[in-house]
Every structure is written in C-alpha cells, then in structure tokens.
C-alpha cells in the first residue's frame, strides 16, 4: 500500500491556483492538496482575467468560464483543470469549449483528485513537448535549405566533397555552440557579402 502511494510525492511544493468557492467541496480540494504538501492559493470569486502563474490551475466550471481565460483555446500556459460542482448542469459542449486538460468532479475521493490532477499535468506537458517538437521541425525544415547552400559554398571554396563540407559545418557549429542552421545561414550570408 505504501509503495502504491509513492507517486503522490509529486505534489510536494507544487503551486496550485484554486479558483473555487470556499464551500465544503472547494475547501475539501484545498485541504487535500495541502495535506499532500502542495502550496495552495485560493481565489474566489473568479478573477478576470484568470491568472496563469503557478504550476496548476483548478477552476470552477461555469457557462462563462471560456470567456475568462486570457489565453486562446489550446494555448493555456499551465495545466488547466475544471472543477465540476455536485449537481452541476454542466453542458459537455461548454466544457469542451474551455479546452481543459482534465475534469475534477465533486465529491471526489483523495485518489480521484490526485490522479486527475497528475494525469492532466502529464497531458499538458506532453502537449508542450509536441508543440516544441513541431516548432523545431519547422525550423529545421527551413534551415535544411541553408545547410544545402552552405555545403555547396564550402565545397567550392575549399575543394572538398559533400561529406567533408558537412563535417566542417558540424564541427564549426559545435565549437561555437550554435545550431547547424545558424552557422549555415551565416556562411550563406557572408558569402553573399563577399560577392
């Protein structure tokens, strides 16, 4: 049993923004989080716009909540979890429009609260990693063209073959601690100036 709860250590010192009423359910979530060692900043009523500093934002669902987010759907800067109060007539379409990373239903058990939060956080971080991968892929696609050009410039200037030209590029990039793309762009640009 003790081993199974090892993962709850992740809650230690985690900063939560808890935007829920200070009623039984709201206070329950707050005290669960504190018990797990997290720092909780409790805010109510809903501030406009919703704050985005902190590690996780848990926010009470309402039909208007999608309008309170300062970010566009899909661009939330932190894990965003909606709290659905008991007997809430929450409409699924409205929930979906908020593009949250997870849903926390009250009343919730200790384990359901913890697991929802951690999975939502994982999902958020995974999304961030994918985004940065796409960003880098786009950058690489652009710089590949510069690398091709730089290679042929080097081949001409130094009378070396393609393989060697590529190695020169890689070594220079490593020595100067910059990306292959930027060293290639620099070579292409300076070559242009020399012309």
């Amino acid at each position: 049993m003790k081993n199974n709860r090892e993962y709850l250590k992740e809650f230690k010192k985690l900063d939560f923004l808890l935007v829920v009423p200070q009623d039984e359910d709201g206070n329950h979530i707050g005290s669960e989080l504190r018990r797990l060692g997290s720092n909780v900043k409790h805010l109510w009523p809903v501030p406009m716009p919703l704050p985005s500093e902190g590690a996780v934002l848990i926010c009470e669902f309402s039909a208007e909540i999608a309008d309170c987010t300062p970010w566009l759907p899909g661009e939330s800067p932190l894990p965003f979890i909606l709290h659905i109060p008991r007997n809430s007539p929450a409409d699924f379409k409205q929930i979906r429009n908020c593009a949250p990373h997870g849903l926390l239903y009250s009343p919730g058990t200790e384990i359901s609260i913890a697991n929802t939060i951690l999975l939502s956080r994982d999902q958020f971080h995974y999304e961030q990693r994918l985004r940065s991968r796409i960003f880098r892929l786009d950058e690489n696609l652009r710089s590949m063209r510069s690398v091709e050009q730089a290679k042929s410039i080097l081949m001409d200037a130094k009378h070396i073959n393609e393989e060697e030209a590529y190695r020169v590029l890689r070594r220079t990039a490593m020595e100067r601690r910059i990306t292959l793309g930027s060293i290639a762009a620099a070579i292409v640009d300076s070559h242009e100036l020399l012309k």
Binding site: L72, G74, L141, R142, R145, E148, Q149
Partner: protein, 378 residues
C-alpha cells in the same frame, strides 16, 4: 443525423478586415466570399439548407483574429471559418482551429513552410508564383534585384526564398529594406533615392496593405522608368492598382494565379456577377477569386459530406476539384494546399494586367519546396 430533414442554415464564420492597414484587399476577399454565398443560396443552398455567414471585422489587428476565431467557434458554434489575409492573422487563428478542431479556409498567397490539418490553403505557395516570377524577371530585365518589403513574417520569409533562387541562378541582391505596415508616403522617399543610386534591374516588392500605394507613388514621383526597372510583386493586385492610380501602376509586374483578364466562361461569369453586385468600377483580383472559389469548393464538398464535422468534411474537401475562374483547380490531401495556375501580368493603362506568362496547366503546390532544388526551373 437528420441532415436532410432540416432546413436550418449552415452557419459559417467570416473573418476579413473592413478597416485598418489591409482593409482594401481584405474587403475584396469579403466581397468574393459573400458573392459565392449568395450564389449558393439562390441556387437552393446545400442539401436544401442555406449558408448563413457570421461576420466579424478584426480591423487588421492580429490579436483580434485569434479572439474572433475563438468567439466564432465557442459562442457562435461555427466550425468552418473563411478568412485571413496576412500570415500573422493566420498564425493567430491557427492554434484555435487546431485545438477546437475547426477548419480555416485561407484564400491568400503566403510564404509556405506550413501544414496544419485544420487549414485549407487556397492561395499560392512560393513555387506557384515566386519561383516562376524570379526566372521570368532574370530572363527579361536582368539579375540585380533590390528587395523592399513590409516588416513582418511574410515579406521576410518570402524574400529569403527569392534570394536563394536568385543567387543560385547567378543573380545578386543589391539592397534590401523593410518598412512598417503603417509606413507613410514620406517613409518611402529615402528608399527610392537609394534605389535610384543603386540602379537595380528589378525592384522586388513584398510591401502589402495601404503602404503599397505609397511605394508606387514615391517611385513615380522620383521619375523612375517602369519599362526599364519595374516593381515586381506577388501582392499588388487590381485593387491596389486602382488605389494608387492606373498611371502609377502601369508597366509594373505581378505574379498571381488569377487576374481579372483571365480568359474563359467561368471567369466572365464571375467578373460579371462581381461587378453587378459591387459596382462596375471594381475589378476582381487574385484574393477575391480565391475567396470566391473556396466557398464553392466548400459547398461542393459539404454537399457530399452532408455534415460540418471537421474530420468528415476535410476528408471530402481533399478529394474535391472545381472549375474556378482561374481554371481547373484541385486539392492535394498530402499538404492541404491547392493545385493552382501560375501567371505573370503586367499592368496596363486601364489598371488591368496583360498576361505575359501562363503555365500550361495547374501547378501542384509544394509548400516545403521539396521538389525544388537550388535551380529555379520547372
């Protein structure tokens, strides 16, 4: 689903600026969009249901595009949006349609190097206008280019490619300037004097919006000769030429998939209906045409799909082709772009473009320029 039983309208979002720096061209995109919607509705709609546009004016402000896209998808319950001119506005809408799984139809040429499963690109990618233009200019006018552009993503990216092709074909960039989208006529004076001193063979312009007029006017004021040293552009359309004055625009060059002067019955109908709707003195242009045909393309795909569900609709769109005013066009499911025609036009004294080059057939889009090596040739 009950799709065929209801006569409820299909709601679609429309996001083009009616005011601000790029309103001149965006209002023609709105005009093209609305004309197509009216044609579709007067022919009985799609599956007997009319199209109902929900229109917002983002006033040429980038952030407003993102906000209105959110409003359209959340408050108005719309999943398909026709809109955007500048690349910044497209990039503002992109995360919204991606996260909420909508479809943005983007009827504007752009710098390429993008693929979103939530965007349908119906304007030209660089291989469909820029590369062909570069080659033509070098053959006819010479290989010393001066680059002038508005200062944002599209001009910088587009010039980066142009530079690459130019250089590999033995040309040179003799100078380069970027001015704010809000540049005034006076801001162009020093650039024009620099151009006069450098005497390039070509001025390649990626200036967009209102300042386009100022560039061409400053050029004319300086007494430069467009027959010898024309301004070549991918964005100066019939609309900008009208704004700057036909005499100011004369002899300058633009590459585009469409000009009002394109031959064919489809285009005569389009031009006639456009003028009937908006006035005889208004010309159609590449952006209005793409805005127009993309709504028809959407309607054709929706008729087949019977649902606005993005996943179903998009699949159908990618298999659709259409007889557009510019000629036969088709979608490419590999990259979400459109196979379009390549043309080069020279402005005449009536503010129209004489077509001086035309591709033999539609040209597949190659947004990442995978099939284009370092040499600019087909």
């Amino acid at each position: 689903m009950g799709t065929y039983e209801t006569s409820e309208p299909w709601r679609v979002g429309v996001l083009f600026s009616a005011t601000g720096n790029t309103a001149l061209i965006e209002s023609t995109q709105l005009a093209g969009t609305m004309l197509a919607i009216e044609e579709i509705n007067s022919a009985g709609g799609i599956c007997n249901r009319p199209l109902e546009p929900v229109i917002y004016d983002p006033k040429s402000e980038t952030n407003a595009f993102g906000r209105y896209a959110k409003q359209l998808m959340i408050q108005d319950g719309v999943s398909t949006i026709f809109g955007c001119y500048t690349s910044c506005s497209r990039k503002a809408v992109l995360p919204v349609v991606e996260r909420l799984n909508g479809l943005l139809w983007y009827p504007t040429l752009y710098e390429g190097f993008e693929f979103s499963p939530n965007i349908v690109y119906t304007g030209a990618a660089p291989n469909q206008n820029e590369i062909i233009l570069c080659q033509y200019l070098m053959d006819r006018y010479g290989d010393r280019f001066y680059f002038i552009g508005s200062d944002y993503i599209y001009p910088r990216e587009s010039n980066r490619l142009m530079k690459e092709f130019l250089k590999h074909n033995g040309g040179t960039v003799v100078g380069e300037s970027y001015l704010s989208l809000a540049a005034s006529r006076r801001d162009f004076t020093p650039v024009i004097s620099e151009i006069r001193n450098l005497q390039p063979d070509i001025i390649f312009s990626t200036v967009v919006g209102d300042s386009t007029t100022y560039l061409y006017q400053a050029y004319t004021d300086a007494g430069l000769n467009p027959k010898l040293m024309p301004i070549a552009s991918l964005t100066t359309t019939e609309a900008e030429i009208k704004e700057m004055g036909f005499d100011v625009g004369e002899h300058h060059i633009t590459a585009a998939s469409y000009f009002q002067g394109v031959k064919g019955e489809k285009n005569s109908d389009f031009v006639r209906n456009y003028k009937k709707q908006y006035g005889d003195d208004l010309s159609t242009n590449m952006c209005a045409e793409a805005s127009y045909f993309q709504v028809h393309l959407f309607a054709k795909a929706l008729e087949e799909a019977g649902t606005m569900d993005t996943d179903v609709l998009r699949r159908m769109v990618m298999e659709t082709d259409y007889e557009a005013p510019q000629g036969h066009i088709s979608m490419d499911s590999r990259n979400g772009h459109t196979a379009l025609w390549s043309r080069i036009g020279r402005a005449n004294s009536q503010g129209q473009f004489e077509i001086i080059y035309e591709s033999a057939r539609q040209v597949d889009a190659d947004p990442y320029l995978i099939g284009y090596g370092r040499v600019a040739s087909e």
